[in-house]
Assembly symmetry: C2
């Protein structure tokens, strides 16, 4: 079947405090993404979770080695068990699902950079679907990694970069404006 | 001035080989992004480069420490000088601009993860504007980092995660389909 695509791009000229910004829906989504830590009881479908992982696998990786693996956790009982195993991760109490992004250090020495790009794809994709998500750390914390690996059954030599709790956002939340002119250097530092 | 936003989201049901995928323009952009290594002579405006950096600064960071800094290099002479200083980076011969993403290890022990998320935002934003870009490595390579730092004048203690050559793509290029079912684990590895 032919791939049906419809891409809508548009520009909004906006006079901001710093510059004239041309925006499209991709920028809009990047600026709207926020870390969501509280979720409603609405379930997240497995198809939607797979889509998020598909977005993750579309990330770039050094020498295209794709050193990543993804674990989807979903289902009421499975999430309750995960929350019990990782009591310090308070987001898991409400989350309807989670994705663990793990990497193979034997496939790439900088698997954690590739997996970070994959994670950012997942967070942006979640925002675009009206889902809320947040990056909670594994790597480089040795204890955090062990806790996640034990909870999800990640075998050696794989290491978890992060665990992403996911659900539909509870309440209204707006993204922070993190633009800081002083962090931008032009042609020299 | 009120922020004008218009967000167009839509779903396309597509029967693929693996699953039913619901797509929107954000997913479309994620799947269309590719590493572009050859560029036309069309210049990239400074406003567009600043927009890319603005997208970078919208990334999440551990404890919201935002340990990143960004250097835009643009202009014919500046790019020629950069290409001479970094002869191993062959993309710089044609690139019209570059962005270096650097981090402060004193601000965050995992600055390189935060900077990777920022880099992915930049790559996705570039794709959405019809620009081509590619992540070329700095961290963790000691020599690569030194070469970039020397070329761009990055002061201690900052370290460059990557250098992103940017330009309008030369020729047609399509993204790879990197979906691999065997890298997805559901509820257990």
């Amino acid at each position: 079947m032919a791939k049906k695509t419809l891409f809508v791009a548009f520009a909004i000229l906006m006079i901001g405090s710093n510059a004239i910004f041309a925006q499209n829906s991709v920028f809009e989504n990047i600026f709207n993404r926020k870390s969501v830590r509280s979720y409603t009881e609405q379930q997240v479908s497995l198809d939607d979770l797979k889509l998020l992982v598909k977005a993750g696998m579309a990330a770039p990786s050094g020498m295209n080695r794709q050193p990543w693996e993804f674990v989807i956790i979903h289902g009421k009982e499975e999430m309750a068990a995960l929350s019990q195993k990782l009591p310090n991760n308070r987001m898991l109490k409400e989350a309807q699902a989670a994705i663990v992004v793990a990497g193979n250090p034997q496939t790439s020495h900088y698997w954690y950079l590739d997996c970070s790009a994959a994670t950012q794809n997942i967070l942006l994709a979640a925002e675009s679907m009206g889902l809320g998500a947040v990056w909670t750390a594994g790597y480089p914390g040795v204890e955090r990694m062990k806790a996640i690996s034990d909870a999800v059954g990640i075998p050696e030599p794989y290491l978890p970069l992060c665990l992403i709790p996911i659900g539909y956002p509870k309440g209204e939340q707006t993204a922070k404006d993190k633009w800081k002119q002083e962090k931008l250097h032009i042609n020299k530092w």
